[in-house]
Every structure is written in structure tokens, then in C-alpha cells.
């Protein structure tokens, strides 16, 4: 098996609330391998988003280690973490994903510009990717002119366009109806498999896990279950909906 694009080793994140420690992430360990799309599920408050924030190098853990594409986050200063987010990680968020004054193509191009890619070459790459996501006719649309699903697909393109080692998606389907949500996740999964990077999708909707390769279930900051076979995942998704 190829080297993991993400290694999480005994990760702990503790917040102090009213003087009492709350373990938002409690001794979590797992790996994500190239081409693998992992679903991180759990009820609200289970620690999914805190974990994702640590993996994104946006939050420092209390203990443990995270390696993204072989780079130890604990050894990095803020400047290095910014560079890592820019070059090795792709993001989609629940909402407020896109820069409102940039077109779909420009929103995706932002990642290439941040990484210093030649604009001409990047532009073709962006256009190809958006076309594959069904937005070939929307390259010059502003975010306000697009539906929520279209905006999420632009965000997915932005997360993938610079070939990151790891893509992190925080509730990418939260603002979408079921049909659109399934389409977005299916497209997302397809692109991750094809490009060979790793992906983690945080969702509270178990039905969205049909297209992932593995599901990690969290509760109270811990991973309480792992579903690694297609049969288990399908059963989990069907049970939810």
C-alpha cells in the first residue's frame, strides 16, 4: 500500500469550559491513503469539526500528531502551515465558500494564483475541471447567479484544482436538497478516486456516505466505529434514510 496522505496519531484536543476540561477530540488515530475518500460522521458536538480543523492546520491539538503528506504539523510554524494549506490541502466549507466578487472560473483560479501557477495553463485546467463538474456553461457566472449545488461544485473544483494531497470537506451538502447532495458527493468521490489524493468528508447525514470508501463514526470526541466494507457502508446509509 502507498504511503498514507494523512496520518492521525493519538490526537487529543481539550477545551476548558468554565474551568472544566472538555475533550473535543479524545485519543483519535487513523490514516487516509491515496485515492481514499473517508466519511467522518457523528451527531452534532461529537468532535468532527474540531478534528477537521486540526487536520486543516487551523487549530493546534493539545496532544498527538498529524502528518499531512508526510509533513508533521507539530513541527511547523504558522507560515509553514499557511503554505501547507495552500499547496497540499483542498477545502470546501458548509457555506460562504466562494468569493462573491469573482466568477466561477476566477474562484477556482484563486488556488492556482495562490500557488503561483502560470495563469494561462491554470485557466485551461480550471475550465476543464468545471466542465467535468457540469459547469462548462457557467465559467463566467458570479456566485449570486448560481444555485447552491452549482456553488458547491465550484468549491469542489477549487479544492481539487491544485492537485492537493488531501481534500477536507466540511458538510459540503448541508445547504443542498437530497438529489443535489447525492450528485455533489458522487462527483466529489469520483474526482478523488481519479486524482489519487485522499479526502475526508464531514457529514451528519449518513445517507451521504454511499460514495465513500470508509466511514469513521465519532461520538464524544472518539472514533467509536469504523465501517470499511461496501456492505457495511450501504447498510449504514440505508439505515439512516
Amino acid at each position: 500500500m502507498k504511503k498514507a496522505v494523512l496520518e492521525v496519531l493519538d490526537l487529543v484536543k481539550t477545551f476548558m469550559v468554565d474551568g472544566a476540561p472538555i475533550h473535543a477530540v479524545d485519543h483519535v488515530s487513523f490514516q487516509v491513503h491515496p485515492g481514499e475518500f473517508v466519511g467522518l460522521v457523528g451527531p452534532s458536538g461529537s468532535g468532527k469539526t474540531t478534528l477537521l480543523s486540526i487536520l486543516a492546520a487551523l487549530l493546534t491539538p493539545t496532544a498527538g500528531e498529524v502528518l499531512v503528506d508526510g509533513h508533521k504539523l507539530s513541527k511547523m510554524d504558522e507560515g509553514d502551515r499557511v503554505k501547507l494549506r495552500r499547496s497540499r490541502i483542498g477545502f470546501t466549507f458548509q457555506s460562504n465558500n466562494l468569493i462573491p466578487f469573482l466568477t466561477a472560473q476566477e474562484n477556482v483560479d484563486v488556488m492556482l494564483r495562490l500557488n503561483g501557477w502560470p495563469v494561462e495553463r491554470g485557466g485551461r485546467r480550471t475550465a476543464d475541471l468545471l466542465s467535468r463538474l457540469g459547469l462548462g456553461d457557467h465559467l463566467h457566472f458570479m456566485p449570486a447567479q448560481m444555485s447552491g449545488g452549482q456553488q458547491q461544485r465550484v468549491a469542489i473544483a477549487r479544492a481539487l484544482v491544485h492537485d492537493p494531497a488531501l481534500v477536507l470537506a466540511d458538510e459540503p451538502t448541508a445547504a443542498l436538497d437530497s438529489e443535489r447532495a447525492f450528485q455533489v458527493v458522487e462527483t466529489f468521490a469520483g474526482l478523488i478516486h481519479e486524482r489519487g489524493g485522499g479526502g475526508i468528508m464531514v457529514t451528519h447525514d449518513l445517507r451521504m456516505c454511499l460514495h465513500v470508501d470508509r466511514v469513521l463514526q465519532m461520538r464524544d470526541g472518539r472514533i467509536v466505529a469504523e465501517h470499511a466494507t461496501k456492505k457495511e457502508i450501504v447498510a449504514l446509509a440505508r439505515a439512516a434514510g
Binding site: 469539526t49 480543523s53 460562504n96 462573491p100 476566477e106 494564483r113 495562490l114
Partner: protein
């Protein structure tokens, strides 16, 4: 925009796509620019009107009567002082200057003028641009300044009548214009120059003054032979010539009655206008940043550095300020074309450049708080991930 750095690209895209909003702010800056430039021009115009003649003096030092506190109207020098001063070593030349005011009554509307006397060829007498210098010995010849020529329509060879109250009576004197010098306003009035004896005959004076025909100069303008030895000559003058005090030209200007207070008022107005500009720009950009917190959070989360976010904000502020100042300068130019010549507006290159520089600085200064706020935005909080 392909070759631009990321901060410049993102800043200009936002300005262009929201050009209506940014143009409104630029228009506000343009109005502030208009106001600042007009205040500066008014300050310069008023200063010119008050000090133009003194400012143009071809001299480094000015000799006053002792205890006159460098105030021209308080100084009257004894007749021997000029001779004593002219004997000093290190002095190139010295000329007496006599000040008064009168009124030209022969024009369609009476014009109040500064009536000055000086010796042609000596410091204090401006170089004649047209015609010739007046003759001495009580001749009825006058040299007028450009401002008076423009306002009165007088030309070389024209006659004019001045009215002066001498004792209990008004005296009317006929003079002939023989020359024109450049602008030499003094105490907000255009100037005319005559010989000292003529000045003594036609100036307003009390009954007691009228009994003495000797003209006493108010001040002496002194030109030094070595520009580096001004202080040395000043010390020598004070040591060797009795009953005098000596000032440089700048001190003389600052002691023109009302000059300093007027300039301070104008400068305060300009300062407060700039302050208002800083607050307007600061308020606008702070609201902008507050509205863009999630957007800045996304940029930071996907790998935009704090310096890039800060630089983008600075670029926006600079662009909007530059457009506003440019528009304001153009509007000022258009307005200035329509102002009557009686409004004392003088667009001096140095003061306009200083004002434009100050206006260009109010953007970054005003937007500083918003830039700092933008740099400090935490992506986690901005995206509500925490």
C-alpha cells in the same frame, strides 16, 4: 490582470466588480480633496495678498526701529540710520522702504492701494517689468503692480488720482503711470510705488505730520554680499548701528499684523478637513471588512497569508484614494476656472503637492484599523468552525 500578484489581483477585482460602491467613496474623497485644495489655495492666496511684497523682497535682512517688535507699522527709522547701515562691511546694498495706504479715485470704482516708496535700483524696489522706474525729487510718477493694473485697467502713460486725508482735509494728487512691476500685494491691497519725496507729499497724515516734509523710512531692506554671512552681518548691525533691531524676511512676514493668526486658522481648517477624511475612509473600510469576515476567513483557510490579506486591503485603499484625489484635483481645476479674480485663490505648486501628498496619506491612515482588523481575522471563527 494576469500578471498581477495575488493581493493586487484580488483587491482590483473587488474594486472593479463593486465599482459603484467604491466610486461613491472615491467621490467622497474627491469632495474632501476639493475642500482641502481650495483651503490650501485660499491660504496661499490670502498669504500672498498679505505678504507678497515682503516675500518678494530682494534682501536677506530687514532693519527695524528698536522695540518695534518687527512690526513694520511700529517702526520709523531716523534719517541717519540708512547711512550708518550702508557703511557696514559685508553688506551689498540697503534700501529704505516707506509704507502707507491710499485710495485711487479716478477709476470707475475707488480702489484701495498700498502706497509704497523705495529707491529704484536698491533693495525694496521691485524690478520694472514694463515701462521704467519713476524719477525722484517729488516727481508725479508712479509704478503700479500687476494686480492693480489688472483691477484698474491702468496702462503705462495713464493718469490716476489718489485721495489722502491730510490733517482735516482730503488732498487729491495726480500721478502718471510710468511702469508696471509683478504682483506685489501688501496687506491685501495691490501696491503702487513712488519716490520717497512724492510719498511724503501724498500719503495720508495727521496735521502734525504734515508740518514736517522729511520722509522717514519704516524699514530698510538689506542685501548681504555673502549669503553665508547673514548672521554675521546681523550681529554687526545690532552692535554698530544704534536704535535698531534686525530680522530676516520670514520673521518680518510672520509679524505682519494678523498674518500668523490667519495662516493658523487656514491650516487648522485644512487639518480638520483631513481628519474628517481619515474618519470617513476609516469608517467605510471598517464596515467593508466587517461585511467580509467570512470571505477573508475562506481566503486565509485556503492558504492566503496575513500579509497578502493586509496588502490587498492596502491596495484597495490606495486605489480608491488615488481615484478620489485625482477626481478631486480635476474638479478643483474646473471650479477654479469659474472663480472671479477678486477671490484670493493661489494654486502654488508646492502647497498643492503637499496637500495631495497629505490626501494620499489619509487613505492608508484612515484604513489602518480595518487593515489590522482584517489581518487579525481568525479563519476558524470567520468560518464558524469553532
Amino acid at each position: 490582470m494576469n500578471g498581477l500578484s495575488f493581493p493586487v489581483y484580488i483587491a482590483l477585482k473587488e474594486v472593479w466588480r463593486n465599482r459603484g460602491r467604491f466610486l461613491l467613496l472615491s467621490l467622497v474623497i474627491a469632495l474632501i480633496t476639493l475642500l482641502v485644495l481650495f483651503i490650501a489655495a485660499l491660504g496661499e492666496g490670502l498669504a500672498d495678498g498679505n505678504r507678497q511684497y515682503i516675500g518678494n523682497l530682494d534682501a536677506e535682512l530687514v532693519v527695524f526701529r528698536e522695540k518695534s517688535d518687527y512690526i513694520i507699522s511700529s517702526s520709523r527709522l531716523e534719517t541717519g540710520t540708512l547711512r550708518a547701515v550702508r557703511r557696514m562691511v559685508g553688506l551689498e546694498n540697503a534700501g529704505p522702504i516707506y509704507f502707507s495706504a491710499t485710495e485711487i479715485t479716478s477709476t470707475a470704482l475707488p480702489i484701495k492701494v498700498s502706497l509704497l516708496a523705495a529707491e529704484p535700483g536698491y533693495p525694496g524696489m521691485p524690478t520694472v517689468a514694463e515701462g521704467r522706474d519713476f524719477r525722484g525729487g517729488g516727481s508725479k510718477e508712479v509704478v503700479i503692480d500687476r494686480n492693480l493694473a489688472l483691477r484698474s485697467g491702468l496702462h503705462i502713460g495713464d493718469g490716476l488720482v489718489v485721495r489722502s486725508t491730510q490733517g482735516p482735509e482730503d488732498r487729491f494728487s495726480d500721478l502718471e503711470v510710468v511702469g508696471i512691476v509683478g504682483g506685489q500685494s501688501y496687506l491685501f491691497q495691490p501696491s503702487m510705488f513712488v519716490a520717497a519725496e512724492t510719498w511724503e507729499q501724498i500719503r495720508p497724515q495727521t496735521e502734525a505730520d504734515a508740518r514736517d516734509d522729511t520722509p522717514y523710512p519704516h524699514i530698510l531692506a538689506v542685501r548681504v554680499s555673502d549669503a553665508g554671512a547673514v548672521e554675521q552681518l546681523r550681529s554687526s548691525l545690532l552692535a554698530q548701528v544704534p536704535k535698531i533691531e534686525v530680522a530676516d524676511v520670514a520673521t518680518t512676514i510672520n509679524n505682519i499684523p494678523g498674518y500668523s493668526a490667519q495662516q493658523a486658522t487656514i491650516q487648522t481648517q485644512g487639518f480638520f478637513t483631513l481628519l474628517i477624511g481619515i474618519m470617513v475612509i476609516g469608517g467605510f473600510f471598517q464596515i467593508q471588512v466587517l461585511q467580509k469576515v467570512p470571505q477573508i476567513g475562506v481566503l486565509k483557510a485556503i492558504g492566503s497569508s496575513n500579509s497578502a490579506v493586509g496588502m490587498a486591503a492596502v491596495v484597495q485603499i490606495m486605489v480608491v484614494t488615488a481615484i478620489g484625489v485625482g477626481l478631486g484635483a480635476f474638479m478643483t481645476f474646473l471650479f477654479s476656472l469659474g472663480f472671479p479674480p477678486t477671490v484670493p485663490l493661489t494654486f502654488n505648486g508646492v502647497s498643492v503637492a503637499a496637500s495631495v501628498l497629505a490626501l494620499m496619506l489619509i487613505g492608508p491612515v484612515g484604513g489602518l484599523v480595518s487593515v489590522i482588523y482584517a489581518v487579525r481575522i481568525e479563519p476558524l471563527r470567520a468560518l464558524r468552525l469553532q
